[in-house]
C-alpha cells in the first residue's frame, strides 16, 4: 500500500493490517460466510433490509484463495494459431446463359499463425479452399484461384521508435468510404464481393512494403509494391459482365484477356498517405502512382484489355458531425496515357467525390448514407473521339448508398442491408444479410446480391444475371 494510504488508514485507531477495513465492518457481516451464490441472487439474505452483503474482499471472509488469471485453456503452441472453417453455397436467382447456375459452393479453412520474436512480428494467414463450381484448381497466388489463397505472410519491424515497417503479403486499407473507394488503391476482389463471400474477401492481398513514420505534426505511410497488384476484377469466369465489343452481356464464353503489367520494379506502384488527428477529426492527404486497378483500356491490335498508367491525388476528413460520424473524400484520377481524353481506347481522367454520414438512430440500429459523384474529365474530347454509332458513357455518374444495420437477441442476430443506387445509371445493387451467432464458435448467415438495372451496360445493371442468394455456416476457433 502506498505511503499516503497507509497514513490515512493509520488515522483510525485499532486498525488491523490488510485491506484497510474499519473494525466496525466485520461484525456487521452475517456470522456465516456470505456464500455468494452461483446463480442469480434475489434480494440479499438479510431479512430486515435490502442491504447487500459485503463482497469478498470487503470485510467478508475470503472463501477461496483468489485464483488469478483465467487460463485460456488453449494448447500451448510455439505460436498463436486461430482461424475458421466454413461452408458456403449460393445459386443464381436468374438464368444466366453465360455462367453456371451455382454461384458459389465453397469449403474453406483459414489458418492464421502469429509469432513475436524479439522485435519482429511474423504473421501468416492462409486459406485452403475447394469449390466445385469453379473448375480451375491450379494455384495462382496472384489472382487467388486454386485451393490455396495466401492472404498474409509478413514481418513487422520497428527499426526506430518513430517508425514501423511491414513487409510481405498483407491486406491494406485506408480512406473513409463505406464500400466506395477513392484513395484506397489497394487491390480488391470484386468477384468475392459480388458472389457473396464474407466482406473480408473484398480486400485482396498486396505484396508490398509499408513504411510508417509518426510524429507530433503528422504521420506518414508509404506503400511500395514492386510489381503491380491488380484487382481480382470481373473477367467473366465467375461473374458475367457487359462486353462492349460483343455489344451484349458475356461470361464464360468471352473471358476477359488482359495484358497486365508485370515487370518487377518496372511496373511498380507507390502509394502514400499523410494524416493527422485533430481533436477527433481525422484529416488525410493521399497520392498514388501506378495503374488503373481493373482493366481501363483496350489494345485493338492484341485484342487484350489493358491497365493504363494512373496517378491519383486526394484528401479526406472524418469526424463527429451532429450525433454521428461524417466523412468527405475526394480524389483526382489522372489517366496518364490519355490526359486529353481523346483516346477512346483508354479511360479518361476522373474526379471522384464522396460525402457520408452515419448515426445510431435507435437502440442497436444504425443507418448510414453516402453520396458519390464521379465526373469524367475531357468529356468533349471523349465524345469527339468515339467512333460513330458506339455507346457513349455519361459525363457524370452519381451513386447513393444506404446502410442499415439492426442487432437483435442480445446482438447475436444481425439484420443488415447495404444498397447502392445510381440515379444517373438507373441501376441498383442490394446486399441484404442476416447472420446469427449460434454460440461462441458457430455462426450462420444467409444473404443475397441483387442487381437491378434499366440497361444492360450500366455499372450495376450489367450484373443483373449474376443476382444470387447464398448461405453459409462458419466455425471459428
Amino acid at each position: 500500500m502506498p505511503a499516503g494510504l497507509q497514513d490515512a488508514a493509520g488515522i483510525k485507531p485499532g486498525e488491523s493490517s490488510e485491506p484497510a477495513l474499519p473494525a466496525g465492518l466485520e461484525p456487521s457481516a452475517t456470522p456465516e460466510e456470505p456464500g455468494l451464490p452461483e446463480g442469480l441472487t434475489p434480494a440479499p439474505v438479510k431479512s430486515e433490509s435490502n442491504e447487500p452483503e459485503l463482497p469478498v474482499g470487503l470485510g467478508a471472509a475470503e472463501k477461496e484463495k483468489s485464483e488469478s488469471a483465467q487460463e485460456t485453456g488453449f494448447p500451448k503452441l510455439p505460436f498463436d494459431i486461430s482461424g475458421f472453417a466454413e461452408a458456403r453455397g449460393g445459386v443464381r436467382a436468374d438464368n444466366d446463359p453465360y455462367e453456371k447456375d451455382c454461384s458459389i459452393g465453397e469449403t474453406r479453412l483459414q489458418l492464421e499463425a502469429e509469432k513475436q520474436v524479439s522485435l519482429a512480428g511474423f504473421k501468416t494467414t492462409a486459406d485452403f479452399l475447394y469449390d466445385p463450381v469453379f473448375d480451375r484448381h491450379k494455384v495462382d497466388l496472384e489472382d487467388g484461384s486454386g485451393f490455396v489463397d495466401l492472404r498474409e505472410a509478413n514481418v513487422t519491424l520497428t527499426p526506430v521508435e518513430f517508425m514501423d515497417v511491414k513487409a510481405g503479403r498483407q491486406i491494406l486499407t485506408w480512406g473513409t468510404g463505406d464500400m466506395i473507394f477513392i484513395n484506397d488503391l489497394f487491390p480488391k476482389d470484386w468477384n468475392s464481393f459480388l458472389l457473396g463471400r464474407d466482406t473480408e474477401y473484398l480486400k485482396a492481398p498486396s505484396d508490398a512494403v509499408k513504411a510508417s513514420a509518426y510524429s507530433e505534426i503528422a504521420n506518414l505511410n508509404i506503400v511500395y509494391t514492386p510489381r503491380f497488384d491488380s484487382d481480382r476484377y470481373v473477367d467473366g469466369r465467375r461473374v458475367s459482365y457487359w462486353n462492349d465489343i460483343l455489344g451484349r452481356r458475356a461470361g464464360r464464353d468471352a473471358v476477359v484477356r488482359a495484358d497486365k503489367p508485370d515487370g518487377w520494379f518496372d511496373d511498380d506502384e507507390i502509394a502514400g498517405r499523410l494524416y493527422r488527428n485533430i481533436s477527433g477529426y481525422e484529416l488525410a492527404a493521399y497520392a498514388y502512382n501506378g495503374f488503373w486497378k481493373s482493366p481501363a483500356g483496350f489494345n485493338p491490335r492484341s485484342g487484350k484489355a489493358t491497365f493504363p498508367e494512373l496517378s491519383v491525388y486526394g484528401a479526406s476528413g472524418r469526424g463527429s458531425v451532429l450525433k454521428g460520424i461524417g466523412n468527405v473524400e475526394a480524389g483526382y484520377y489522372d489517366s496518364e496515357n490519355d490526359r486529353n481524353g481523346d483516346d477512346p481506347m483508354i479511360q479518361n481522367s476522373q474526379l471522384r467525390i464522396l460525402a457520408g454520414y452515419e448515426q445510431e438512430v435507435a437502440e442497436d440500429f444504425t443507418a448510414g448514407g453516402q453520396y458519390y459523384i464521379e465526373r469524367m474529365m475531357g468529356y468533349g474530347a471523349y465524345k469527339r473521339s468515339l467512333p460513330p454509332g458506339s455507346r457513349r458513357d455519361d459525363e457524370y455518374r452519381h451513386v447513393v448508398t444506404l446502410r442499415l444495420t439492426k442487432l437483435l437477441m442480445n446482438q447475436n442476430l444481425s439484420l443488415s442491408l447495404f444498397t447502392f443506387y445510381s440515379p444517373t445509371d438507373g441501376d441498383a445493387y442490394l446486399r441484404p444479410n442476416v447472420s446469427y451467432k449460434i454460440d461462441d464458435n458457430w455462426t450462420a448467415e444467409v444473404g443475397g446480391n441483387v442487381f437491378i438495372g434499366e440497361e444492360d451496360y450500366t455499372f450495376f445493371g450489367q450484373f443483373e444475371k449474376d443476382s444470387n442468394v447464398y448461405a453459409a455456416v462458419r466455425f471459428n476457433f
Binding site: L25, P55, Q70, T366
Partner: protein
C-alpha cells in the same frame, strides 16, 4: 463484416477499477455531503491510478442457461490533471484500448475510445482481416456492451451530472444513494439505488427501477482485491431480472500505473497492438 456490425454498437469501455480513495478514509461517523460521496464513488469506480491494465472475462448466461463468453485485455489512461497535480483527484477525459481475444470471430479486433467529459466520445474499431479502422457512430449509451447485460454506460461510468442524488440511508456499512435522472425521457429507468461501501467508496450493489417502480436490473460486486494498493472489484455481476439473464465480469492480472504512453491510443497501435501492455 458480421463481426464488424456486432461490435459497431454503442459500446463504451468500462473498467471497474476501483480503489480505496487514498487519503480519504475517515471515521465512519463523520458526515460527508452527498456530492462528496458521489464524487468519491465516481473516482473509485473509474479513475484509480494514472492508468491501468487488466484481462477481462465476461460470462453471459441467458434465461435458458446457455452461456457465451467475451475475453479481452483492456488498457486505460487518464488525461493528466490540467494543474499538473498528481494526486489522482482529477476525473477528466480518459482513453481506453480493448483488445479482444474471444469469441474467436472477434479475435484481434481492437475497440478504442477517447472518452470526453465535455463532448461526444470518439470510438474506433479496428478490423484486422480488412486492415480497416472504422469510426463508430453511436450515441446511445444505454445499450448492451458486446451483447452482455452490462450497458455501455454502466461500464464507462454514467456522467454524475445526469442525475440528482439523494442520500436515503446511512447504515453501518453503506451510504445508500437514490439517483434520479434529470432527463427521464433519455433513460429506461425511473431511478436507481446504490449501496456504497463507506470506507472504500466501492459501489457494492445497484438496483434499477423501471417507470412502474419495479426493480428490473441489479448489480453486485462479488469480489474485491487489493492491487498495487488500490481496492479493486475483481468480480461483479449484472442481472437483468426481466430477461432473466446475467453477466459475470471477472478481472485478472490487474495492474495500475504501468505507464502506458499516450500514443498507444492512436491509429498506429490499432494496427500494431502494444503487446507489452496486453500481456
Amino acid at each position: 463484416m458480421k463481426t464488424l456490425d456486432r461490435l459497431a454498437m454503442p459500446v463504451r469501455v468500462f473498467i471497474v477499477f476501483s480503489t480505496l480513495a487514498g487519503g480519504f478514509v475517515r471515521a465512519a461517523d463523520e458526515q460527508l455531503s452527498v456530492d462528496e460521496i458521489v464524487n468519491r464513488t465516481n473516482r473509485t469506480a473509474y479513475y484509480q491510478g494514472r492508468d491501468g491494465s487488466a484481462k477481462v472475462l465476461m460470462t453471459i448466461t441467458d434465461s435458458q442457461g446457455r452461456t457465451r463468453t467475451r475475453e479481452f485485455a483492456i488498457l486505460r489512461r487518464d488525461d493528466p490533471a490540467p494543474d499538473g497535480k498528481d494526486d489522482d483527484s482529477h476525473c477528466g477525459n480518459q482513453k481506453f484500448y480493448v483488445y479482444f481475444s474471444r469469441p474467436a470471430d472477434v479475435n484481434k479486433m481492437v475497440f478504442m475510445v477517447h472518452k470526453n467529459v465535455d463532448r461526444e466520445d470518439e470510438r474506433y474499431l479496428y478490423l484486422p482481416a480488412l486492415d480497416l479502422v472504422k469510426r463508430i457512430a453511436a450515441t446511445e449509451k444505454r445499450t448492451s456492451f458486446v451483447g452482455s447485460d452490462f450497458l455501455y454506460e454502466d461500464v464507462s461510468g454514467r456522467n454524475i451530472n445526469d442525475d440528482t442524488h439523494e442520500l436515503v440511508e446511512t447504515s453501518q456499512n453503506y451510504y445508500v444513494l437514490k439517483n434520479t435522472p434529470k432527463d427521464p425521457a433519455s433513460v429506461e429507468f425511473s431511478h436507481f439505488k446504490m449501496w456504497i461501501h463507506k470506507t472504500s467508496f466501492i459501489p457494492v450493489k445497484g438496483e434499477y427501477y423501471d417507470k412502474n417502480g419495479d426493480k428490473y436490473r441489479e448489480y453486485s460486486a462479488e469480489k474485491v482485491e487489493t492491487v498495487d494498493g488500490f481496492t479493486t472489484v475483481t468480480k461483479a455481476r449484472m442481472s437483468d431480472l426481466k430477461a432473466k439473464s446475467a453477466t459475470v465480469i471477472e478481472y485478472s492480472n490487474v495492474k495500475y500505473n504501468v505507464n502506458v504512453p499516450d500514443d498507444v491510443f492512436t491509429e498506429r497501435f490499432l494496427r500494431k497492438p502494444p503487446r507489452e501492455f496486453l500481456r
